[in-house]
């Protein structure tokens, strides 16, 4: 049901990100969405890819520290107020967003928002109650 996101620890120095994308190119892994969080010294690269298991294996083989996190993907119409509807619904239940990022689908009509919640179950329940479309993991990987 939920979406699996992989995350990688990277030192903040030239070429580290390219090293990861090179591994993906070589192993024909497609990136669906990504976000990079960083400090002055290190970064955490968060990724949703079409083949999680393969990506994890390839990265671990090359010595990367890889984490897997459950995130929630929600589809909204790509127009003003779309994100606000979701956040307003969540704040009603005092559900905290640890972080989020977004991408626009190829059709250009809808946007997909990726959320990391502490309490995934209550968040999904609230979103469903508000009639939001929560996207299944395998649908997202195949998009």
């Amino acid at each position: 049901m939920n979406v699996k996101q992989i995350s990688i620890f990277l030192e903040n120095k030239p070429g580290r990100l390219a090293e990861v994308t090179r591994i993906f190119e070589e192993s024909q892994i497609n990136i669906r969405a990504l976000a990079l969080a960083d400090t002055s010294e290190f970064g955490i690269l968060r990724l949703i890819v079409n083949d999680n298991e393969k990506a994890q294996r390839m990265l671990k083989d090359r010595g990367y520290t890889v984490g897997v996190t459950e995130v929630v993907a929600v589809e909204v119409e790509d127009r003003p107020g779309g994100l606000h509807r979701i956040l307003a619904a969540l704040s009603k239940d005092h559900i905290n967003v640890e972080y989020m990022y977004a991408f626009v689908r190829q059709s250009g009509r809808n946007a997909v928002l990726i959320f990391r919640f502490d309490d995934v179950a209550s968040a999904v329940k609230r979103l469903a109650a508000e009639g939001m479309r929560v996207i299944d993991g395998k649908d997202l990987y195949a998009m």
Partner: protein, 433 residues
């Protein structure tokens, strides 16, 4: 259990009288037979007859590893070659090996001290000793071997390597005492597990582990995985080999130094000043019975501490603490002495860190800055910045509280700290002073 009641439980005044007599004889002999010592003593303005009381030992100059190298191979021998019956050498990881020699009587002394060592660790005549220390130039294998024979125990001279065969022999021959390095003990435990052999079904009761530094945590792991009591043994080829000091099975609390043959001192690694009992510093040994290769105030570079209180096993000889690190690794950070091994123990205690770390010292403005690089592993990794930063802050705080020095902890990628075959490079000093 005690092999030699007379010398291991002697009242201290009697012991010190013997030490003084033997020290005087050794000093006179090296002055007359080894040109190196004569030159050094003359430079320091000290003559053998100046050694009137034990404390006069402090008047004698130190001997360093480099002195042994400069006199490679036989320049430090105090007897002619026709009296030498055995030659050993150190591994020489950082240059030429150090060559040491033994007379027939030295070999007997060594066997006696190793018999004491094995006995202190609970070995009796009826025991079978599985001796997995390497036989050869290294002193470990033959040292244990002669001691086991002197004691009258049975010894399996298996030496190192071929671990699967070792496990088979452990199963079939039923050895009761294991002697090897602590890291090999853990390696054997893993191999046995892979082969489906449980140490619970083997007959081992005790193990004597040494020749490399290890920790209390490692002792617990060995005792659990091998189902034995694990004793720490200390020795170095320059002084004799294994059998300089051993923990007793009764207390497992500090290593009894065989003081009727060696005089241990603790000194300040920088100033050379002799330190009182209970104060940590560098171990220095003077041999007082060795014939072929006596050493005077030999700087071991090993950090330890001496405790004179008698032990509950009955021994009155001084105990040395587990080796805490090497003095050549010591750093002075804003006036505070810091040993990499101290930081390592804080790292190990803070969280489940892998022991891959490196210390980087820089001078920023006029201040020393110490950065601790620690590799991220999956156990601590998080997809949230704040969690990783709090790991860094926790470790900084623990180092500050334990060592009194402020450091900056930096997480780095796995395998980014260079691995080396032998000794890991723990410190990068970028200060240009």
């Amino acid at each position: 259990m005690i092999f030699n009641e007379e010398f291991e439980t002697m009242p201290r005044e009697a012991l010190e009288a013997i030490q003084l007599r033997r020290l005087q004889a050794t000093v006179a002999r090296v002055y007359n037979t080894v040109p190196f010592y004569r030159r050094r003593f003359d430079e320091a303005g000290v003559k053998p007859e100046d050694i009137r009381v034990l404390a006069d030992l402090h008047k004698l100059p130190f001997t360093y590893k480099n002195d042994l190298r400069d006199n490679y191979p036989y320049g430090m021998f105090a007897v002619p070659m026709d009296l030498v019956t055995r030659i050993h050498a150190s591994s020489g990881t950082t240059g030429k090996p150090t060559v040491v020699g033994y007379t027939a009587r030295d070999i007997q002394t060594w066997a006696e001290l190793m018999a004491r060592t094995l006995t202190a660790a609970g070995t009796r005549k009826e025991d079978i000793v599985h001796n997995a220390y390497g036989y050869g130039l290294f002193t470990g294998g033959l040292g244990v071997h002669y001691g086991a024979e002197k004691l009258g125990a049975s010894v399996i001279p298996i030496s190192g390597g071929n671990t699967k065969r070792q496990v088979m022999i452990m199963k079939d021959f039923g050895p009761t005492v294991l002697t090897c390095t602590p890291s090999y003990a853990l390696h054997v435990a893993e191999a046995a597990e892979e082969m489906g052999v449980s140490f619970r079904d083997l007959k081992f009761k005790a193990g004597i582990f040494g020749a490399e530094p290890w920790s209390e945590r490692m002792r617990q792991e060995i005792e659990r995985k091998l189902n034995v009591k694990a004793m720490d043994v200390y020795g170095l080829s320059e002084v004799m080999g294994p059998g300089v000091a051993i923990e007793c099975i009764e207390a497992q609390n500090g290593l009894h130094v065989f003081e009727d043959h060696f005089i241990p001192e603790i000194i300040h690694p920088r100033t050379g000043e002799a330190l009182p009992y209970g104060t940590p510093g560098e171990l220095v040994f003077t041999t007082i019975t060795k014939e072929a290769f006596p050493v005077i105030r030999y700087r071991t570079r090993d950090l330890s501490v001496l405790h004179p209180e008698p032990c509950r096993c009955g021994r009155t000889i001084v105990r040395m603490g587990r080796i805490q690190g090497r003095s050549d690794d010591m750093l002075i950070i804003r006036g505070v002495n810091v040993f990499p091994s101290q930081i390592e123990s804080v790292i190990m205690e803070t969280r489940q860190f892998a022991p891959h770390y490196q210390l980087m010292v820089e001078r920023v403005g006029n201040l020393d800055q110490l950065t601790v690089l620690v590799e991220v592993n999956e156990g601590m990794f998080s997809d949230e910045i704040k969690n990783l930063q709090s790991i860094e802050r926790d470790l900084e705080k623990n180092i500050r509280e334990t060592l009194g020095v402020t450091t900056r902890v930096k997480l780095v990628e796995p395998k980014s700290i260079q691995r080396s075959e032998g000794k890991a490079v723990r410190v990068i000093d970028k200060r240009n002073i």
